[in-house]
């Protein structure tokens, strides 16, 4: 029992430290990309900025939905099945990928409902549109996940990492990596890490929360991004596998921050995408066909190798 508590504490501490660093890097780098200096009121180059922002949001009063509670719970629960490193995982099981993905989809649906701040009937009238947005990044990501599963023949995340001891999956699945990365980028853009969130479309456009609800929202948005980056690492970039003498944890941290900075840069380079027509068109004309082709090729390969023993 104590062992699990200790692990939980480690995971929470790691997430919080990561959150603090990412918020600071986000603020500083986006400012530098716009040729500004960023937040400078606190000393030491604005290291205290995330704390200041936390208290600033907290000082405003805002009403809290029932959804915010669920969001907070789910965004913590999501980490129960995901192995951050080889030992840092709460529950070890064979279907960890399946459970993690379901938690993640649930969290995104919760966020949709939370961000529609008018009455729920109005929220349901917009559902069709939101489902389209949801599909525009979920389907290609799921396709590429399935094709990775077909290659490594397990649903356990730990096994997937271990199967990459020779070479990473990015060499076997370049198309899958590209589609997963673009769908990750679109989510990053829509969730609004460095600007406004455009998830709330239609009537609710431009309505953002205040107070404690806002903090929980932002926390969960960061959690989704962390989760996706770590999944990307595990599926394609070899997870926590060490290179030569360098420890796996350090390699993982380097990869994590590299991807985060690349995402921030791309976020600034691309303008606002809030017209859902464009999103759907990007999805149906580029992402889904490419990921489908990738899936069919891997499926054929899988059938030929394992079922009919041709190769």
């Amino acid at each position: 029992m104590l062992f699990i508590l200790k692990k939980m504490f480690y995971i929470l501490a790691l997430l919080l430290v990561n959150l603090y660093v990412c918020e600071y890097v986000n603020n500083k780098l986006t400012a530098r990309m716009e040729l500004r200096r960023g937040y400078r009121i606190t000393r030491a180059k604005g290291v205290g900025f995330p704390l200041v922002r936390f208290f600033k949001y907290l000082s405003r009063s805002g009403r809290i939905n029932i959804w915010t509670f669920f969001i907070f719970l789910l965004s913590l629960l999501m980490w129960s099945a995901v192995p951050i490193t080889a030992n840092l995982v709460l529950i070890e099981m064979d279907y960890s990928l399946l459970i993690a993905v379901t938690f993640y989809i649930g969290l995104i649906i919760m966020l949709f409902f939370n961000l529609s701040r008018t009455s729920y009937s109005a929220a349901f009238s917009e559902t069709s549109k939101k489902v389209l947005i949801l599909l525009s990044f979920l389907i290609p990501a799921l396709f590429s996940i399935v094709s990775v599963v077909l290659i490594s023949k397990t649903l356990s995340l730990k096994e997937i990492v271990n199967s990459q001891y020779q070479y990473w999956n990015i060499i076997l699945q370049p198309l899958g990596f590209i589609t997963f990365f673009i769908s990750l980028f679109l989510q990053f853009k829509l969730l609004g890490i460095s600007g406004k969130s455009y998830l709330s479309t239609g009537i609710n456009i431009g309505k953002e929360g205040t107070g404690l609800g806002k903090i929980v929202e932002r926390f969960s948005i960061y959690m989704i991004v962390f989760f996706l980056i770590i999944i990307l690492n595990i599926l394609y970039l070899g997870g926590w596998q060490g290179i030569y003498l360098i420890r796996g944890e350090i390699i993982l941290a380097i990869k994590f921050y590299f991807i985060f900075v690349i995402l921030l840069l791309m976020d600034k380079a691309v303008g606002r995408i809030d017209s859902y027509n464009l999103l759907v068109r990007i999805n149906w004309k580029f992402l889904i066909p490419v990921s489908l082709v990738n899936f069919i090729v891997t499926f054929g390969f899988f059938m030929a190798r394992d079922v009919y023993n041709l190769i």
Binding site: M33, E34, L35, S125, E126, K129, G195, T201, G202, I203, I205, G206, K268, A269, V270, G271, R272, I273, D274, S275, L278
Partner: protein, 499 residues
């Protein structure tokens, strides 16, 4: 066809043409009007209230006249009488008409309403001036407050929705202060010049130049060549500054941060030059009746010459970054399209009109300052959507740079002001209307003077027409595009105040 081309090129023949149209109008409307005469830019027709319907009908439906565009309507007080002035324009025959109607003191509301009802039968845009309290307060789904639209803090927007699409939009300018005609009455002339640039805080030189031009027209004063060149230089600098600010606003809406920052930096560069010449950034207070306040020295010209190629290079870069980005083009194309017919009917002017493929520029048509010394072209768009409105403005910036280059290269010597004593001025009782091509459109001033005081002064900015048009073109668009369309019309909040 040949006639119209001829008239556009030679302004002297145009004035002959104006007199001819005046005689024609007098012949056609003989029984219905009191009298007609030429006042600067327009033909002033004084009509009694009973004959107003027939006059308006004749103007609209006579195939020789074809007065198809409604420009503005304004009420003012002259002496103890109340007047209503209606500005109509014919783009085919290229003349504009001011209808001056007297309304009685006692039943002012009733008379105003009657005239609006008459005009509404012929021109769609007039419905904006009706009393619309009931419509606005009752049936709408969303109210967009003025503070939520950045840079457009002069009106509320009430929208009724059909799912995600705008069914109807009402602009409510009730929150902006409305300056009456009395505000100018007790003011001295030099103070009026200092205050008038507040009408347009995006490009402050144009109201001043317009007012001073109107008084020069009244006094039949010819300004020295050097003063004219300095005025033109400042006008073009302010035009560039305004257009770059417009582009930065559009980039802010699109969240296109690279172009946003670069365009703000270029605006800063232009504003520095303006500040060095006039002493202030927003409100120049620089133009005087008979010339300008201060001379420009060699050092300043050298400074401008040094900055011109840098400006050209950087703005070209911004254009490349914006127009080549397929995401931006995807967003701007086919949103907020303004057809040629609608544009003419609602009487918008300036770059917005030119984007809908109407080649009309007051700099070429009527030579208010001496623009005919220089060679430049008037860019026009094809369809009149948001992309056209932006690219027309980009092209206009390059034309302005071209004009500035020519101004610097042949800067004439001489005095920069003709000193006149303002305190002992005495006018004959007369009226004048004067216009200038400001970056938003056509800025107009109508003045009536008698002896040594200004009887009435009506200021008409171009933004109000764009605002009325926005009610029409917002219909059928998505809610995400509202701020983009409103921003692409380049509305200056200062001008809305004086309606």
């Amino acid at each position: 066809m040949a006639d119209s081309i001829y008239n556009r090129i030679y302004s002297s023949s145009r004035s002959v043409f104006m007199e001819e149209t005046g005689e024609n109008l007098e012949f056609i409307l003989k029984d219905k009007i009191k009298y007609i005469f030429k006042t600067g830019l327009d033909l002033l027709i004084v009509v009694s209230k009973d004959n107003f319907y027939q006059t308006a009908k004749e103007l609209k439906e006579n195939p020789e006249l074809k007065v198809n565009s409604f420009q503005s309507i304004a009420a003012f007080k002259s002496g103890k009488k109340n007047f209503l002035i209606v500005n109509l324009k014919s783009f085919d025959n290229d003349f504009s008409v001011l209808l001056k109607v007297e309304i009685s003191q006692r039943e002012m509301e009733k008379d105003y309403r009657e005239i609006i009802e008459i005009l509404e039968k012929f021109y769609k845009a007039v419905k904006f001036y009706k009393h619309r309290g009931k419509i606005i307060s009752g049936d709408y789904d969303i109210k967009i407050l003025s503070r939520s639209l950045e840079g457009l803090d002069c009106f509320d927007l009430d929208i009724s929705m059909d799912g995600d699409v705008v069914r109807e939009a009402y602009v409510n300018i009730g929150i902006s202060r409305i300056i009456g005609d009395d505000y100018y009455k007790s003011m001295e002339l030099y103070n009026l010049i200092t205050y008038i640039s507040r009408f347009d805080w995006k490009a402050g030189i144009f109201p001043e130049a317009c007012l001073c031009g109107a008084f020069e027209e009244l006094l039949q004063l010819k300004v020295t060549e050097r003063a004219q060149y300095i005025r033109m230089l400042l006008c073009e600098l302010y035009r560039i500054s305004n257009h770059i600010y417009f582009i930065s606003n559009i980039c802010n809406v699109l969240q296109h941060d690279i172009a946003y920052n670069l365009s703000l930096l270029e605006r800063e560069r232009v504003l520095r030059i303006i500040e060095a010449i006039t002493g202030s950034r927003i409100v120049p207070n620089f133009v005087r009746i008979g010339g300008v306040k201060k001379d420009i020295d060699e050092e300043m010209i050298l400074n401008i010459r040094k900055n011109l190629p840098v400006l050209f290079k950087n703005i070209k870069r911004i254009e490349k970054i914006m127009i080549n980005d397929f995401l931006v083009v995807e967003r701007l194309k086919n949103t907020g399209t303004v057809g040629k017919e609608i544009a003419l009917e609602y009487g918008i002017s300036g770059p917005n009109l030119r984007a809908s493929s109407v080649r009309y520029d007051l700099r070429k048509v009527k030579d208010s300052i001496s623009y005919k010394d220089f060679s430049f072209t008037i860019p026009i768009g094809k369809t009149g959507d948001c992309l056209d409105r932006i690219s027309v403005r980009f092209k206009e910036i390059f034309q302005s740079l071209r004009i500035i280059n020519q101004i610097i290269n042949k800067f004439p010597s001489g005095s920069f002001i003709k000193k006149i004593n303002l305190s002992h001025l005495e006018f004959q009782s007369s009226a004048v209307s004067y216009g200038i091509e400001c970056p938003h459109g056509l800025f107009k001033i109508y003045i009536e003077v008698e002896k040594n005081n200004i009887n009435s002064l009506v200021v008409k900015g171009p933004s109000i027409n764009s605002l009325i048009l926005s009610e029409e073109i917002l219909k059928g668009n998505k809610i995400e595009d509202i701020d983009l369309i409103l921003m692409s019309l380049d509305i200056s909040p200062g001008e809305i105040i004086s309606t």
